[in-house]
């Protein structure tokens, strides 16, 4: 068993330090080392998107990234979306549109949608579907999720929260 490494990184705007084995994925570090269980494990092969986090603003499957690779990068997870008790427009629209049933895919969708809107504040339905194609949902059939992202894009000003 390899010795653990100290990793310095920024998570949701906070500078953090954690210890992990080289073989632990970022997803495992977030969940089991840091106790941040908002990112979910669905497949461990990067096919479902339930573990999606943003790395320097880019949507990444945290199951496909090693914890040690977070060194020096900016990580954003679902736990950092809301500003204190003020929900991000995406979170608010997901609730208003009943865009979640079991909710397990929701953190991943929110992060992918945030990456999309940060980059393209007023996407078309087709652009939304393309950007979210890497996030699987089995409960909703996606309809209400796409509606929520469309509404959030109309609600936000060009500077995302």
């Amino acid at each position: 068993m390899d010795k653990k490494t100290v990793v310095e990184t920024t998570i949701n705007g906070e500078q953090m330090e954690f210890l992990c084995e080289p073989r632990q994925s970022l997803l495992e570090v977030l969940r089991d080392v840091l106790g941040m269980t908002g990112s979910k494990e669905g497949c461990l092969t990067g096919d479902c998107g339930a573990c999606t986090v943003l790395v320097d603003g880019r949507a990444v499957c945290s199951c496909l990234m090693l914890g040690v690779e977070a060194e020096g990068h900016k990580i954003e997870t679902v736990e950092g979306l809301a500003q204190g008790s003020k929900l991000h427009p995406l979170q608010q629209k997901f609730l208003e549109n009943a865009s979640l049933q079991c909710g397990i895919c929701t953190p991943g969708f929110l992060m992918s949608a945030k990456a999309l809107l940060d980059d393209n504040p007023h996407p078309s339905e087709a652009e939304i579907r393309y950007a979210l194609a890497g996030n699987l949902c089995r409960c909703t059939g996606y309809d209400k999720i796409v509606h929520a992202v469309l509404e959030a894009s109309k609600a936000s000003t060009s500077k995302a929260a």
Partner: protein
């Protein structure tokens, strides 16, 4: 029992409040089973058979036990032997001996992925390493993978002790059961028919596809009590089945349901739960077990593929006079496919005087099947609903009209059971017929439109509920129904409706198996109907008590007190109406706090019907089918929270589309699953789909105070047939095998072209 609600105006029921557990779910704070952690917790992993069919001659664990960090290893030898008997478990009856064998194999591996041993260690990685050090001596046997192979004479026998009623006690067999339903005389019926269509259909094994893998954290206390935290659709089922498998009294186990990341029937049984308790007992620590995705696909409970031969006859004016079907479904490594339900569903939407349905439950070397949203009905409808369209075409009658003409209605006999009470089958077809989608023109090459209908029983069963009135005049409603899709909000809505409160002043909770009375699974489309009924009655019980207290305060009889819109009043003079908030400070001195309670076994539950229309475009060069537009109409009786009803309709439709177009299990010649990941077990992504239009039909269910019908399942039933009918309309080929993946569609198109060419050449 309360009256029906036709014409009743509701205040809260039918509105769309934000769900009470919503904020936790969108902020990542909600705790699903795998999110739980406890001090000193160990991690478990399961060793699984790499062979589809093998005798397990020996299991050596000594090397694995020596690995630093490994704390315990268990095998089937650590579980008690259970009698071969049937219990009610979840939605389908269960043989406890088979269930226990499925949890840890006893001497025989029945499918690729079958659990052989379980390890607990200080990290999941160490547990994984330990699996590789366990030495298992297998004697590999030839696998039997299809119902045809399993039913062939001289097929290898998979379960030596298995017998069925028909063949008797001396015949070994792979057919666990043969069920038959009949009505009238099909020979006579077919003789009257002007058109008879018969086809043989095949469908593949598919998985529920929930995004959250199975999980369980077991904590065994030295006093013999255990607690299980897990994501499940039925905490009481986890309790009773785990207790049975472990050989301990049910009362010694408390199950705390975590939030659940999807189930669709696949989480109404147990896999890891008893193992987590067993390993906790052996180690003295909490033990967390989770499945990875490959294990979920290989070794949880997909639903049956199989074969269906279906034959239907109609007179030329469009009346179906006879129907016959023979279904053989894969049960997996142990008996218990949903073929009996399939047999009861296949002809259910129609009024047919002569029917004969034979159904066979067949053991094969695949995982033991579990319930999947309207179990058995979807593959059955693929057969019947495509033949219905062919008959309609022969008769020159529109596909909707044909179904309306033959549709089941109040008084129509069911395949098994009493005649239908008031149902909404025909109304759902009419909703499709009158929908903007169906009325629109579909233009373009290789494009087609098809529709289909479907039926599901819905179950009632038992639920318990409590409504607590708080000191500030708000309330909480406690049930045992795990919330998979927003049902918590519906419970709050119903309570708020009865108590005259704002829906945000009612807090809904899902309690553990000690804190709330027995409650059957969240499944079978029962939660809003049955648990909703218990909640309704518990709230009414609270109202009754409130009236008694007001009567005491006003020195009147309880019968003189009324409760309307949250206000207690009396017709007789001299009293100022009181709100719940106003009476609450006086509850203490009039007898104490108020908790309304109710327990029910819901009967007279209304069945569900759905009709779905899809437009497709078929690429004639690749066989790829694109869904252009989809509309689903479903009879919900009365939609308590319309957004979540729409959600069930849309979700089921999309699962049905996946089942129709892409999803299937690929096993190789050795019986090893080749697509045990979500890349190759291809479920629909949002890029594959358009918006799903919904039409909630409300034909109130008689005998239910709100008139609600279960909505969770039936929407999955019509889509494969609807898509097949659309493909036929688009490119003139009739698909008889699921999924209708590009390769199969292309083959059918090419075959049609070749046949057309050869008949042209022959002229």
């Amino acid at each position: 029992m309360a009256a029906t609600t036709e014409g009743h105006q509701f205040r809260v029921i039918g509105t769309r409040p934000i769900r009470h557990d919503g904020v936790e779910k969108v902020t990542g704070a909600a705790r699903y089973g795998a999110d739980y952690a406890f001090p000193g917790m160990l991690f478990g992993r399961v060793l699984r058979s790499p062979h589809a069919h093998a005798i397990v001659k020996s299991i050596k664990t000594d090397k694995a036990l020596k690995l630093p960090g490994v704390k315990a290893i268990v095998t089937g030898a650590d579980l008690p032997e259970l009698p071969d008997r049937i219990e009610q478990g979840g939605e389908l009856p269960i043989n406890l001996h088979h269930l226990s064998c499925n949890i840890l194999a006893r001497g025989k591996a029945m499918y690729d992925g079958h659990a052989i041993a379980a390890v607990a260690a200080t990290s999941p990685h160490i547990a994984e390493e330990a699996l590789r050090l366990i030495e298992v001596d297998y004697e590999v046997l030839p696998p039997v993978m299809t119902v045809e192979d399993a039913m062939a004479p001289n097929a290898p026998i998979l379960l030596p002790a298995l017998r069925n009623k028909e063949d008797g006690p001396d015949k070994q067999t792979n057919v666990a059961a043969h069920i038959q339903f009949k009505r009238g005389d099909v020979k006579e019926g077919f003789a009257k028919a002007d058109y008879v269509i018969e086809h043989s259909f095949k469908s593949a094994m598919v998985h529920q596809g929930y995004i959250e893998p199975h999980n369980a954290v077991g904590i065994y206390n030295s006093d013999g009590h255990a607690t299980i935290y897990c994501s499940t659709q039925g905490s009481f089922v986890v309790r009773s089945l785990s207790a049975a498998v472990l050989g301990i009294p049910e009362g010694k186990i408390r199950v705390v349901p975590a939030e659940i990341g999807g189930g669709f029937g696949g989480k109404t049984t147990i896999y890891l739960e008893p193992l987590s308790v067993l390993l906790s007992q052996k180690t003295g620590h909490p033990v967390k077990l989770t499945m990875n995705r490959a294990e979920v696909l290989r070794a949880s409970g997909p639903t049956s593929g199989g074969t269906i031969r279906c034959k239907m006859g109609a007179t030329k004016d469009g009346k179906i006079v006879a129907a016959e079907a023979s279904l053989a479904y894969e049960a997996g490594g142990f008996p218990g496919s949903p073929v009996p339900m399939a047999a009861m569903c296949i002809l259910a939407p129609y009024d047919i005087p002569n029917i004969l349905v034979d159904a066979y439950d067949v053991v094969v070397n695949r995982p033991k099947t579990a319930a999947y949203r309207a179990p058995g009905a979807t593959n059955a409808a693929f057969a019947s609903e495509t033949i219905i369209n062919e008959l309609a075409e022969k008769c020159g009658i529109d596909q909707c009209e044909f179904r309306i003409m033959n549709g089941a209605h109040e008084g129509t006999p069911q395949t098994a059971g009493p005649p239908y009470k008031r149902i909404g089958m025909i109304e759902t077809v009419e909703a499709i017929k009158n929908s903007p989608h169906y009325k629109s023109k579909l233009t373009g090459k290789n494009r087609g439109r098809g529709m289909a209908s479907g039926f599901w029983f819905n179950i009632g069963f038992q639920s318990s509920a409590m409504v607590n009135i708080h000191n500030d005049g708000t309330a909480s409603v406690v049930t045992g129904s795990v919330d998979i899709g927003g049902s918590r909000a519906s419970m709050a809505i119903i309570t708020a409706e009865v108590l005259g409160l704002d829906v945000n002043d009612v807090r809904p909770l899902v309690a553990d198996t000690d804190s709330i009375g027995y409650t059957d699974v969240t499944g079978g489309s029962r939660t809003t109907v049955a648990t909703g009924l218990a909640v309704f009655e518990a709230a009414q019980d609270a109202v009754r008590q409130l009236k008694e207290r007001a009567a005491k305060l006003w020195e009147k009889k309880p019968e003189e007190v009324e409760f309307n819109n949250g206000l207690l009043s009396s017709k007789s003079n001299g009293v100022k109406p009181m709100s719940i908030k106003e009476i609450v400070p006086r509850l203490g001195r009039t007898g104490g706090p108020i908790t309304g309670r109710a327990t029910i076994n819901a009967r007279a539950v209304g069945p569900a019907f759905a009709s779905t229309c899809v437009d497709v475009e078929v690429d004639p060069e690749t066989g790829k089918v694109t869904i252009l537009r989809a509309t689903v109409a479903q009879d919900a009786g009365k939609a308590v929270h319309p957004s979540y009803v729409e959600g069930q309709m849309q979700g089921g439709t999309v699962q049905g589309i996946g089942w129709a177009l892409n999803e299937e299990y690929f096993y190789d010649a050795k019986g090893v699953l080749r697509n045990s990941g979500l890349l190759d077990y291809r479920m629909p992504t949002c890029l594959d789909l358009p918006m799903i239009e919904t039409c909630i039909v409300e034909v109130p269910a008689p005998g239910h105070p709100i008139g609600s019908r279960g909505v969770g399942e039936v929407s999955i039933v019509p889509p494969p047939a609807a898509v097949a009918n659309a493909i036929a309309n688009a490119v003139g080929v009739r698909m008889t095998e699921l999924p209708m993946s590009p390769g199969r569609v292309l083959k059918a198109i090419l075959h049609k072209e070749v046949s057309a060419q050869s008949s042209a050449a022959a002229d």
